[in-house]
């Protein structure tokens, strides 16, 4: 559903996924497949590598002084020319390792579909470091498609990682992943479009008659469901199938009476700015940026709490430059680098000891609890529990039905 994101239009330099080798392989496969219907039987997908197994690959880091890093669009600081990335250049200057940086991730589901064939076949994806949202990171670790990290290459990261992010249930002790940013899911609203209505909770979104047809929810199942569960007094970190179904039924009621205008991906920002959405579930990092551009946009953290998720750095199975990738992770856990990054992208910074550095760059950002959460904010934060393969499929299927497909 958020396959394409208007606000994150694909960058011009998108790396081709199809290499000459894979093309030749494919055409050879095509000749075979043309053999007849019998070929259909040969097309199954093998089971994913041994779950929880560290799919280690040969590390060529010492010989090849390079690392290739795939990230989301606009998820890295830029200089005035908007073409160079100072924090990446600092890494190259310090270590001599060149970073091949591509902004080729627009959507978790889409990106997973893109790299899945290579990973399932046990091949290198051509990427040494990728940034994916926690549920996808969890899935990749579950499938054995992420390489175990070597803590001895990550001293800074180990020391500076905020306590809040240290031990998610899907990657205890951060054996496979390190957070790139934290993401807070809150409620955003357009003051002009609200026209005096006060919005303080998900209940207001779902029930207030004056908001009929002007409420937006996210197509990300965990964000929308997590916020609804919280609103119903349940903990998204510990809920049952019945709780999930109850939350779903509550949302279905709102959909049926026409309260919800649309389920959106990143494109909710356009609807919110234009006032087509009076209020919606939103990602705080976006709201910080929207607020800076248009004063009528603001946000509220419900009393029942809000959902925190993370985008995480992983080394995919088969990657050739694991050590270089680990050093790059470690690089971004230096407070100076983390501060520069946080000042640009405005998402929650997962690094401790950044406040002074950030205050020097941008005092407002340093004081903003959406970027550096204070104690009161951190206490209201909840995470969505990790799901098993079957749960994930079942929950996503039910949620898809809610959104109309």
């Amino acid at each position: 559903m958020e396959q394409y994101e208007p606000d994150r239009l694909p960058p011009a330099r998108r790396r081709a996924v199809l290499s000459r080798r894979s093309l030749l392989r494919a055409s050879a496969g095509g000749v075979l497949a043309a053999g007849g219907a019998g070929a259909l039987g040969a097309c199954g997908i093998p089971p994913a590598g041994n779950p929880r197994g560290a799919a280690a690959a040969d590390d060529h880091s010492a010989k090849e002084r390079t690392v290739s890093f795939s990230n989301w669009t606009e998820y890295m600081d830029v200089d005035e020319s908007e073409k160079r990335h100072p924090t990446l250049e600092a890494f190259t200057a310090r270590t001599g390792v060149e970073v091949r940086y591509s902004e080729d991730i627009n959507d978790n589901g889409e990106f997973f579909a893109k790299i899945k064939p290579q990973l399932a076949a046990g091949q290198d994806t051509g990427r040494d470091l990728i940034c994916v949202t926690d549920w996808l990171a969890a899935r990749m670790i579950r499938l054995g498609w992420a390489q175990k990290l070597d803590p001895s290459h990550l001293p800074t990261a180990y020391a500076n990682l905020s306590a809040q992010f240290r031990s998610p249930d899907w990657d205890p002790g951060r054996a496979y992943s390190y957070p790139w940013t934290g993401i807070s899911t809150v409620i955003a609203y357009n003051k002009k479009a609200l026209d005096g209505v006060e919005v303080r909770s998900v209940s207001d979104l779902l029930d207030h008659p004056k908001l009929k047809g002007r409420v937006g929810l996210l197509t990300e199942m965990r964000d929308t469901m997590g916020m609804t569960l919280l609103d119903m007094g349940k903990d998204p970190g510990d809920f049952t199938d019945d709780d999930y179904d109850a939350a779903l039924a509550r949302l279905q009621k709102a959909v049926d009476k026409g309260q919800i205008r649309r389920f959106t991906g990143n494109d909710y920002t356009a609807d919110l700015t234009s006032g087509d959405f009076a209020a919606c579930v939103a990602w705080a990092g976006d709201v910080v940026q929207l607020k800076a551009d248009s004063p009528e946009i603001d946000f509220v953290v419900p009393d029942s709490g809000y959902l925190t998720s993370t985008d995480n750095l992983l080394v995919p199975a088969g990657a050739r430059h694991k050590t270089n990738a680990e050093r790059l992770i470690d690089h971004f856990y230096q407070p100076a680098m983390a501060a520069r990054l946080a000042a640009y992208i405005n998402y929650v910074c997962p690094v401790d000891g950044v406040k002074d550095e950030l205050a020097r760059i941008d005092a407002d950002a340093a004081a903003n609890p959406l970027i550096l959460p204070d104690r009161a904010m951190a206490e209201k934060s909840r995470e969505f529990r990790s799901l098993t393969d079957e749960e994930e499929t079942a929950y996503e299927a039910k949620f898809a039905k809610l959104t109309g497909a």
Binding site: P6, S27, A42, G44, I45, T393
Partner: protein
Amino acid sequence: MTSPTLTGAASPPAPGGAAPGARPPRRRGRALPYLLLLPGLLWLLVFFALPMVHQASTSVQTGSLEAGYEVTWHFATYADAVAEYWPQFLRSVLYAGTATVLCLLLGYPLAYLIAFRAGRWRNLVMILVIAPFFTSFLIRTLAWKTILADGGVVVDALNTLHVLDVTSRLGLTAGDRVLATPLAVVCGLTYNFLPFMVLPLYTSLERIDPRLHEAAADLHARPATVFRKVTLPLSMPGVVAGTLLTFIPAGGDYVNADLLGSTDTRMIGNVIQTQFLRVLDYPTAAALSFVLMAVILVAVSVHIRRSGTEELL
């Protein structure tokens, strides 16, 4: 298209028969046609046949990501998929059909005007028709969100004229808005696929010898009769090609329904996308794709048969 001379228009080609003066092929050249075909065939094999076989296989597999997928010839996936998602199929056919009819109603006069009345402006008008294609599909669709925004000029005008009261009662819109309603989706589809209708219509209209019109007029046919008896029948290949080029992609489209629609306007393309990328139910997604293909093939062959234009394609 470059030469506007009317009397110079070519007469229709003689039916059947080889072009005069074609020499019988020499032995040496016998392999040549096949060699020339090779790139195209390879292309078809790699980018059409192979994916089709792969998808066909996926649709009869069972399993999960963790345990792997195996071909178990589980054809029940098809029955389940249709039973579950027939409303979205129906909606897709309905929306795409409506958009095609609207495109024809808008596109025919436009193509007619360009072909017969535009004179020296012909090329300019053609460029205007094609110009939207210079921007991305996505941007063009998003533009409609600005145009139709709540409280925007268009919606305000429609509200003042009480048009939306009527469409709302017909179930085409909801409340006092146009966006996130069926009407917006159909409008988006119509707009985005209009050039696919205009271009083939124009090409077939432009080929009509104007002297035929003059002859019909000489035989005392009124303009309406000329159109009905001469122009329309001769432009049928364009009508058929245009409706196909509009209906087929519109039926599988999901961008318009996603950006301009709401939960009750989701089309089958949205379902396939969701099943494939979010739910990870690959067999269902593949089965739905094949059913969609079948639905479109049936619709298209019925359409071609009824138009009686097999030989014109």
